[in-house]
Symmetry: C2
Subunit: 333 residues, 2 copies
Amino acid sequence: MSLDTPSVKPHDRLKGALANDLDAVGELIRTRMASEHAPRIPEVTAHLVDAGGKRVRPMLTLAAARLCGYDGPYHVHLAATVEFIHTATLLHDDVVDGSEQRRGRPAANLLWDNKSSVLVGDYLFARSFQLMTEAGRLDVLKVLSNASAVIAEGEVLQLTAAQNLATTEDIYLQVVRGKTAALFSAATQVGGMIADAPVEVVQALYTYGDALGISFQIADDILDFAGDTAKTGKNVGDDFRERKLTLPLIKLIASGGDADRDFWVRTIEKGKQQDGDLDHVLTLFEKHGALDAAREDALAWSVKAKTALDAVPQGDLTDMLRDLADYVVSRLN
Amino acid sequence: MSLDTPSVKPHDRLKGALANDLDAVGELIRTRMASEHAPRIPEVTAHLVDAGGKRVRPMLTLAAARLCGYDGPYHVHLAATVEFIHTATLLHDDVVDGSEQRRGRPAANLLWDNKSSVLVGDYLFARSFQLMTEAGRLDVLKVLSNASAVIAEGEVLQLTAAQNLATTEDIYLQVVRGKTAALFSAATQVGGMIADAPVEVVQALYTYGDALGISFQIADDILDFAGDTAKTGKNVGDDFRERKLTLPLIKLIASGGDADRDFWVRTIEKGKQQDGDLDHVLTLFEKHGALDAAREDALAWSVKAKTALDAVPQGDLTDMLRDLADYVVSRLN
């Protein structure tokens, strides 16, 4: 975080610097989520879109395009595309997870039904591809369709990896790329591409988005065990209760060896959890230092993200992206 | 059906004429449904793909490209794309409808779970867009992304139109375009486009696919009330029991006027059906001739499909497509 504005989060500074572009993205989203024939579509979409969300992904596209000197209109299309893909995956995730809340509101699958969430998600996904084609760039289409495939693949992998004690850090990384990093990296990458930035700049923007996304997700998974419920709005240990093998747990299980094996088989594999189990997990975290190890990984990815930015044009937006990478892990202090 | 081969269905003649291309499509589908990381994906996909299905949609693309003289490799990509989109929508449809069977096997949502069907459908949808980009044609991408949007929109519309007595023939037509005709027409259209056929030929191929799809769906909806269970494998009156307002029912409700109003409110709107209701519906069909009226519509669309083919290059494939349009409604005799 820069010293002169210690109280303003980098995310909000990006919002200020990109205000006009973000307005254009919001307008495009509102126009394109309409459906002449099926009013259920804008109802469901507006429920999510109006609830806000931080719009991090579209900001990444806008910032990448702008810092590469782009002054055409299509970064707005691509930013809206990225947000549509994100919204579509949220709708489907909430069906898959049986979620009850999203962005502080009842999830769409509860307000309407799973059917509407599945089909409106499909509609937004199709709309996102329509939007992309308008930018007239096949290379951009390839990146975004690849990202969409990685996202879906990661979600399926997460489904089959859950409750599986054999889950490795490699598998975790693939899941995280699908859940978070693939869309982050595609968002920054296509921003550079639409600006016709040199290939090494586009590559650096990809690396930034990828590392930022991974750092962000690891931090999130640490906060699930070490977070302040008042700040995160989530209960400590939800991932343990849901038997999700996130990085902290994978490290913890590996460091315990055979001694704790029975405990993990009962609580994660068989799902037979009882009072006191979470406390025992928290004690094990203390004992083995697995949360600290995960924190080091998150920091390393954050450093990787910042370092990548050395290869792109420098300026205020670049500084804000750098600060964003710091901010993501600052939540861990 | 041509006179010299009365026993061979046009669909099977197309299969013979396009055998090499269809093999290439099958091979491409098998390659691309793979997932390095998530074996659940090819498991679920293979369950559907191996069950067969008639591959009508990819054949439409192949036939359209070939009859326009195309000899490049990309009609195969587009045909596989069309089949992937179709498979993705089947997976999601079965979740939305809570289906128990698909292509004579237990539906994937039962064998695995709804989650897998939603996410694998998303994966195939993303894969279809990847495949499309390989053909390197933005105009084709626009047509197929538009079709995907129309499909999802039609499904949402069907969701909200169900049980609504105010459903008009216009709304029915929009639903049918989404359910069936949008992918048929996109399939034939992109076949012509990849062959660089003149714009009026591409338009005629679009019209053929659109009219064929509508004719096919109306025929299907008629057979729900008038079909031979042994042949169709479906129970008579399923649509009535599920309160789906298909063309025969819409026509029947309109022709009955106020006299039957209470009956429709009770059985369709309120869903309070009892023994004898379906028999009463079948009696009303006799009285008002609504099935015949729907049959006339199906025939008119079939004629429209055949007439459109007058504007495309003539040959064996064109004849088979013409016969296919006849065959679709021949089931009604």
